[in-house]
Amino acid sequence: MKRYSRVGYTLPVILAVLVHAGALVLTMLNLSFSSSEKTSSAVVHARLVKLETTTDQAQQPQESAPSASSTPEPEEESTPAAEETASSRESEEQSDEQARQSQQEARARAEQAQQLARQQQQEARQRQQAEAQREQEQAAREKAAQQAREKAQAEQKAAAEAKRQAEQEAKEKAAAKAKRQAEQEAKEKAAAEAKRQAEQEAKEKAAAEAKRQAEQEAKEKAAAEAKRQAEQEAKEKAAAEAKRQAEQEAKEKAAAEAKRQAEQKRMAQAAAEASGDLGSEISSEQQSIANARQAREAANGFMNLVRRYVEQNWSQPPNISSGVQATIRIRLLPTGELVDARVLEGSGNASFDRSALQAVRKAAPFTELSKLPSAQQRQFREFNLRFNPEDVR
């Protein structure tokens, strides 16, 4: 059987003392790190100054002696080595005198340094001013160039816009003519009236509402008089609606464009006259206008995207009578995920409503929402979507 020696106390004592020594060393390390950082703080500095003023005057020369012996060294390094050793011996012997001398020297050097610093500051200030002037000039030049470029662009855009409008008008006229012919087949009287109204509207250009009314009237009359053309008419109506929307948008855009152009012209004039200060204001204004335009375009883009996604995912139930439509209310998270979709106005056909809801759910994560600016995001957190079987091609 093994014998076990008793556990004494020497080893535990040694271990315990080692533990404490280790802990002490650790705290010293930590505290020394932190204290080296703290020496630069203002509080400690202020305290040191106060201590110095309260101490006796007699201490000062003693304290300054080591610093004095160290200060002349760099200066005398330039002189020959023999001289240096002699002077250092002297400094050791007559530390008080040397201290005073070195203090004077130090003061003189400090003054020189201050003067130098002041000169440098002045120079720096002058340089900065020159720099600033140069920058201002450059900025003004750049701004003028940019404005000229922008003006050219705006003019180009305006020209393109005008061309587009002309094209649209031509298209409109063609459509009106086709419609007129169709209506002539139905009844001459209705056709004549519609023609007259259509012509009037074409001349007015801006009166989209009137046109729609005219179309509606025409449609009503046509429906009352010729039921067999109802489908054709409905199609035409849809086309007209789309066209009207496009027209309205175009008009709005044109208006905004014209406004912007006018503003730009005014700004260009102002910029040509005024200095850099005004230029920055104008540029910021321009930027805000551009931002607003961009946001509007992004919103339109988002709406179109949602519409396309939903259409792609929509499988209409068979044998749906034409003219039914349902409105779905959609609520989204800021990330574009679907929170809730419900039928706001039912079509009266349950399967149709269900198919619409399913389409929304399938298309659901509209991740483009997160890319919109926050103002638009809030606007699109909740919106309605109308389902019309004739919209889908």
Binding site: M1, L11, H20, V43, R47
Partner: protein
């Protein structure tokens, strides 16, 4: 601004408190190391003895093998129980009297063992509960001194107050430094002592049942 400089800057009472706490911390660590090693050694000894005991060795031989001077642990329990058994067997009339005597002797040995195993653990318990308060006392005393000296100062800035409060707080830090290891080690060591005592009691019961079996066999032989 190290611990040592803070110590030298502090007042006499705080210095004494810190010295007490340092001593308490050292003592607690000595106890932790000593008890830890001792308990590990006791457990190994118990395992060895149990192996030897259950290896089928003759009990008289085992008794003779044991050192005569103060054995520890299971050997102590076995020795006191077996000696009492051998002494009582020729004198006692009934088997029950013998078994009672053996049980009493082993109970005494067990309680001796328990007190031996748990020796000095009370120191750890005391340090763990009191060191925090001692440190707190040092801190409060130091802050009292700080406020007293603040009364004579015209302008009070953070630079005046902060160092002395830091000095005072060192006492609390030291108290916690002494108390936390003591609490942890106390709980751990107590649980180890409990475990060892449970094993010793089991051994005592088993040994008792062996002696009981022996006596029953002898009684039936006598009856026959």
């Amino acid at each position: 601004m190290s611990i040592i400089s803070l110590f030298w800057q502090s007042s006499v009472v705080v210095k004494i408190v810190m010295l007490i706490l340092l001593a308490a911390s050292i003592v607690s660590w000595v106890v932790i190391f000593q008890r830890g090693m001792s308990l590990r050694r006791d457990r190994r000894e118990l395992e060895d003895f149990e192996d030897h005991f259950w290896s089928g060795v003759d009990l008289n031989e085992l008794y003779r093998e044991l050192p005569s001077t103060q054995p520890t642990g299971a050997a102590h329990v076995f020795r006191s129980g077996f000696r009492e058994f051998n002494r009582l067997l020729p004198k006692a009339r009934s088997n029950d009297a013998v078994l009672d005597g053996v049980q009493r002797a082993m109970r005494v040995a067990l309680s001796r063992e328990e007190s031996r195993l748990g020796r000095h653990l009370a120191i750890l318990a005391t340090i763990s509960s009191s060191a925090v308060y001692v440190g707190l006392f040092g801190t409060v005393w130091g802050i009292m001194g700080t406020f007293q000296s603040l009364g004579s100062v015209q302008q009070v800035t953070l630079g005046v107050i902060a160092p002395s409060i830091a000095e005072a707080l060192v006492a609390t830090a030291m108290g916690l430094f002494a108390a936390i290891p003591a609490v942890i080690a106390y709980n751990r060591l107590v649980s180890r002592v409990d475990e060892l005592m449970g094993r010793l009691e089991n051994f005592a019961e088993e040994f008792h049942s062996i002696l009981h079996r022996n006596l029953q066999g002898r009684a039936s032989e006598e009856a026959a």
